[in-house]
Structure formats: structure tokens, C-alpha cells
Amino acid sequence: MSRDLILDKLRRNAAGGQSRAEREKAVAKRIRSASRGVLPAQPRAATARVTQFMEKAEAAQATTVMTTRTGVAEAIADWLRAHNLPAEIRTGKDERLKALLGGKAGNLILRQGPSDGTDTTGVSHAECGVCETGTLIVLSGADNPTTLNFLPQNHIVVLRRSDILAHYEDIWPRLRTAYGKGQMPRTVNMITGPSRSADIEQTLLLGAHGPVRLHIVIVRD
């Protein structure tokens, strides 16, 4: 009832003179074309993009490290040790992580499944990163609980070097290819640095409700 009331009013008041059919065509075209608008200039070379990604992520108070496929477990263990954190991590059942950590986890204790808030460190695998602002894209799914990104005090994200993209607009065609047009994972998290608040006298404090630390492990591939 309210639905029809609102839509009727909008229909009457909207768009000077154009017919409904013309407007429907314009809307369908806009959604189909998914035009990219103004894209801020980014470095052309892949290496320069990676460097910029790391710089931007660090400017947002994340830390980064680059390693090889066989060095991921050690990189994680090193970082935990450096911050005096227990050598325990929680991950989803993500195959990519399993391939990188499986067997070679050394003295790391691995736990699997969603977090209930008692874990110190969660580890996720990113779908991609964007060098524009050092932003990580993490998707939810059967093997990727969203709680891992928010409940543990520390969040480690593994990102393949070749998945570092130039613009946010480069993310969406990937999702359309993977999930189908108009389809989405339940949750897409775009993450730029660790959680923070400036609500008390505009003073920046890290670790408001989400993780206090965000560490990005970039894997050469």
C-alpha cells in the first residue's frame, strides 16, 4: 500500500517529460553498461602498484610483508612472535589458505571455523587488493567466516601479489564473473587499515570494536 503510494508519487514527480518506457530503457542501459566514470590515475607497472598498495596500507596503520608461497606460515609466526602474541590462529576452511599453511605451519596452532570472540588472531585470504588506497577485499562464503575479520584482536590477511588491482572498479567485473551478474556473496568487506575511532575529542585510537592490528602478507606468485 505504502509501496504503491510512494512509487506513484515518484512516478508523477520524476523526470521532466520523459515517458516511463524511455526511462526504463535508460535505467536498464545504465545497469547493463556499468560504466566506470572517472578513474584516478594509478601507476601503470604492476611492481609500482604493489609498492603503492603497501605504502597506502601502511599509511592507514596496517603492516605489510612480502613472502613466497612457502614462506607464509613462517611470516605469520614471525609477526605473532614480534608482537608477543600466542602462536594460535583461526581460519576458515579456505582451500587457498590450506595450500599455503598445510603441513608447514610449524609450531602454529590452527583452529578452524567462525570466531566466537575468544581468539587472539584471525587469518583470512583476500579476494584482491586495490592499490589506490591499500584496501583489501575479503568475501564471505562457506569457507570464509566474516567473524574472522572483526572479532579477534588481530587480523592477518593473505593476499596474492597478482591480485593487487588499480581501482575499486576493477573488483566488480571479477565478482560478476565468479558469482554471475547481479549476484553477490552475502558479505563483501572492503578493509583499509585496522579498526579505529576518533569519537573522543577527535583523537585517533586504534582497535575500537574490530581488530587493533591488521597485518597483510603478500604472496609472490
Partner: protein, 481 residues
């Protein structure tokens, strides 16, 4: 909800004399303005992106009916449900129904100005459901029984010592002698208390920065991560959003994201931009079982096709209030309802009526800074002028105000007389100013001179100086105007 907008003048007098408030407001001037300027300057495409953002929203507003239908179709396809609300009370009703159906006792909340607009917290409390604000700023003002004084920094009017007192007063289960001197300890205390609330909540309510028509996705932009914990932990996620939050595609959202954080806090990107589409999927280990979007109109459809349509481009970044000399001087509560600053001065008369809200569009010097920094290029001063015209047409402005305007119009239409009058006024002020060249006494303007001196004219009127040819040498610019 209590509306004190009609008492704007008294509110302002109180705000100017409030030392705690004045101390807190210095953070607005010191922080937001410089950070926004630096962020804008660091992105060469910033101005082009503002144009693009404006064009996207204009296109949406011209086709809002079709986009809303598309959005609804796609939410449904993803397994969610859209609830339409023509009025605030209808929106509250939808939310209560959803809460009752799952037997909710409490609801955690992400930051939402629409929730303030519909007075959701008081209503839920009356209905036996405890609303828990989880944004740190919102949590602080909920403890204080206040309303946000800023749309992105709700507790900007509060100082750390006040927060400390509030925490000691309310968190009585904690040892009274615990140290709370460092801001970090205040944050840690709030984090621990709210963590329990997140984990035990039945329903999570968030706002939305964008609704993506293409995919039926709702998007929130936050720094704390509270919105995310609000929506992934409880069984039910309710999004409360107004109609104009629609963008056509994920690409369009990306364009506007680039101007949003830069204009708001001066960040290049907020920490968490989260896209939610429907309830959790088969096999998902976490996420809500139900996903609801309550779409609020509350008078917005009446703005489409009018001189106020451009206002619906607003993305609630807060840049206009951060840069407003009036907001900087009096803060947000003086505006007397939900939305403060220049955007509030345009929206408030629309929502509560110009007879109650007409004070606000008058409280502007039309300095134009709000329009200059608005990422969506909303002509805010022009719209405030529209409200002034409406107020005048409907004979709502005070009699003295109308008399003075009429007298001025009468004078301005008689050039000879006007010149004589301004010449005499300039001379008179010059005498009053004396050697100091300023005066603290002006007939009929005592309220103005109570807070500052009036600089007095140094030479003749502008016209007289122009005639004398002094403009060629660039001298004598101090005429009365």
C-alpha cells in the same frame, strides 16, 4: 521527539555561553577542515569526481521509482525482504514487528541518522526492547540521554572528562577507583562492555550509506567495525534507509566512495566499507538468518520535482557543517532537531514544517563555504533562500523583520533617497567610530554589538568613491555598504 528549533535564538545564546561546548567545538575547527582540504588536494581528479557523483545522483533522482523497484526485486532475489514506509511511524512499526516475531529483548545498533529521524530508540524502549548504540560516539550520547550534535561525529560536543564521569556513573559494576585518565582506557572499557552486547543481541539494526539497485545490496561505511558486528552476529539484520540512498551499480558506488571519506574525515577511504546482500547463504558459517530493508520516504518523494530535489543528493558526509561559521560557533544541538548545519537548515523545515523550522535557513551569512565543499555540489545557500522566500510569502517571519525588509525595499527603489541615506549613515558611523574606527554601540543592533565591535566606514560611500575615480588607484575601499 522534542523539537526545540522554534527556540533557536535561545538555544544559540545558551550554546555561546557554554564553556564545555565551546572547548569541544574547537576540535571541529582544528581537525575536519584541514584534513578535508589536504585529502582533496592530494587527489587531482577530486573535482571531476564531484561532478560525476552529482551526475550519478541526478540520474537516480530522475528515475527513482524504477531504481527502487529494481532494488526491491534484487533484495528479494537474494533472499531478503523490503518493507516500504511512507511515514516515520510506519517505519517504526515495521521494525517492531520484525523484532517481535523473533522475540527480541534487545537490539544492537550501528550508527544511523534515519533511526534518529524516526525516533527509533525511544519507541523501542517503550515497546520493551532495549536499543544499544554501539558506535562509540553514539554510545556516549545514549548514556548522556542526548541526541547527536553532528551527523558523523555524534559526540563532538562532549569532552573526555565528561565521558569519564559518564562511564563512572553508568558502569557501576566496575571498580570505582579504576584508572580512566587515558582516552585508550575509555575506549577499552566501552569495547569490553559492547562486546558482550554484540554477542548476546537478537537483532542488529544498521543504516545504509548506499543501496545498490543492480544487486540489491546495502552498504555501510564505518571506521570502528561496530556496524559489522551489529549485522553479522544477531539472527536478524534490519537495514533502515531512506529512498534516496540508491545508486545504480557497484561502479557508481565506487565513484561516490572516493568523495565521501575525503569530504567527511579527510581519510582517503574509511576503514570498513561493507556490502551486504541478503541473509547468510547455504553453508555460510556465520551471518544473519534474516535480512530486512525498511525503506523510508517521510516526505522525500514530495521533494522530487521541486526546488529542493537537489538536496536528495546529500550523502551525509558532514562537510557543510564542519565548514559552517554558524555550526562552528553554536554546535549541533542548537538547531533543535535531528539534522544540524547547512544541510539541516534545508532539511529541517521540510520535515517539521517551515513554521517551526524557519529559523534555521535564516541563521546563515550565505558565505557559501558549505556549497564550496559539498562533494555532491548541492546549492545549499540557494535552498536556504528558497525557504526564506516561502516563509516571507506565508507571512511567517516576525513582524519587525517584515517591516524592516519592506522599509529597505522602499528605500532601495528610490536611488536619490538611498544615496542620501547611506551618505548620512556612513558619516554617522564615522563619528561614532572615532579614532578607534570601530564602535560597540549601534542603535537597534544591541544584540549584534554585544558580542563584537562594528568596524566603521573610513571614507564616503562606494558610489561616491566610484564617482570620484578613486577606484582606479585602488584606494578607499572602506565605504559603507
Amino acid at each position: 521527539m522534542e523539537i526545540t528549533t522554534p527556540q533557536f535564538k535561545q538555544n544559540v545564546t545558551g550554546a555561546l555561553a557554554d564553556r564545555q561546548l565551546q572547548r569541544a567545538l574547537s576540535h571541529v575547527r582544528g581537525n575536519f577542515v584541514g584534513k578535508r582540504a589536504a585529502a582533496a588536494a592530494a587527489l587531482p581528479e577530486f573535482e571531476a569526481l564531484r561532478d560525476e557523483a552529482r551526475n550519478i545522483k541526478n540520474h537516480v533522482l530522475e528515475n527513482l521509482d524504477i531504481y527502487l523497484e529494481t532494488f526491491e526485486k534484487n533484495v528479494t532475489r537474494q533472499g531478503g525482504k523490503v518493507h516500504w514506509a511512507a511515514t516515520a511511524s510506519e517505519a517504526r512499526g515495521h521494525i517492531l514487528d520484525i523484532c517481535r516475531k523473533v522475540g527480541a529483548r534487545s537490539a544492537t545498533k550501528g550508527k544511523s541518522m534515519i533511526s534518529e529521524e524516526i525516533g527509533l530508540n525511544a519507541f523501542l524502549e517503550e515497546s520493551g526492547i532495549r536499543p544499544v548504540e554501539t558506535d562509540l560516539g553514539e554510545y556516549i550520547i545514549q548514556l548522556r540521554g542526548e541526541r547527536p550534535s553532528h551527523i558523523i561525529a555524534p559526540a563532538v560536543h562532549v569532552n573526555a572528562d565528561q565521558v569519564r564521569e559518564d562511564f563512572r556513573r553508568v558502569h557501576t559494576h566496575l571498580p570505582p577507583e579504576r584508572p580512566l585518565e587515558e582516552p585508550e582506557s575509555l575506549l577499552a572499557e566501552a569495547r569490553a562492555i559492547l562486546r558482550d552486547q554484540f554477542l548476546s543481541s537478537d537483532v542488529g539494526i544498521t543504516g545504509a550509506n548506499f543501496l545498490v539497485a543492480e544487486t540489491g545490496t546495502s552498504v555501510i561505511v564505518t571506521n570502528e567495525g561496530n556496524g559489522d558486528l551489529t549485522q553479522i552476529l544477531p539472527r536478524v539484520h534490519i537495514v533502515i534507509a531512506s529512498l534516496e540512498k540508491i545508486v545504480p551499480t557497484l561502479e557508481d558506488m565506487s565513484q561516490i566512495l572516493r568523495v565521501l571519506a575525503r569530504s567527511a574525515t579527510g581519510q582517503e577511504m574509511s576503514v570498513y566499507t561493507t556490502l551486504s546482500s541478503g541473509p547468510k547463504r547455504k553453508g555460510d558459517p556465520d551471518g544473519p538468518d534474516e535480512f530486512h530493508v525498511v525503506l523510508l520516504d517521510n516526505g522525500r518523494s514530495d521533494m522530487i520535482g521541486t526546488e529542493f530535489q537537489d538536496m536528495l543528493r546529500c550523502i551525509r558526509c558532514g562537510a557543510c557543517m564542519n565548514h559552517c561559521p554558524v555550526y562552528q560557533a553554536v554546535g549541533g544541538h542548537a538547531y533543535g532537531w535531528v539534522y544540524p548545519g547547512p544541510m539541516g537548515s534545508v532539511l529541517t523545515p521540510q520535515f517539521i514544517g517551515v513554521e517551526k523550522g524557519g529559523n534555521l535557513p535564516n541563521a546563515s551569512t550565505f558565505c557559501g563555504r558549505c556549497e564550496e565543499v559539498c562533494p555532491m555540489r548541492i546549492p545549499l545557500p540557494k535552498m536556504m533562500r528558497h525557504w526564506r522566500e516561502k516563509e516571507f510569502e506565508r507571512h511567517l517571519s516576525p513582524p519587525a523583520h517584515r517591516r524592516n525588509l519592506k522599509a529597505w525595499a522602499w528605500l532601495a527603489k528610490r536611488p536619490g533617497l538611498y544615496r542620501l541615506f547611506t551618505r548620512l549613515a556612513a558619516r554617522g558611523l564615522w563619528v561614532l567610530g572615532g579614532a578607534k574606527r570601530r564602535t560597540g554601540f549601534l542603535p537597534m543592533a544591541g544584540a549584534w554589538t554585544r558580542h563584537r565591535d562594528m568596524p566603521t566606514p573610513e571614507g564616503g560611500t562606494f558610489l561616491a568613491q566610484w564617482k570620484a575615480g578613486r577606484h582606479r588607484t585602488g584606494q578607499g575601499t572602506g565605504g559603507a555598504s
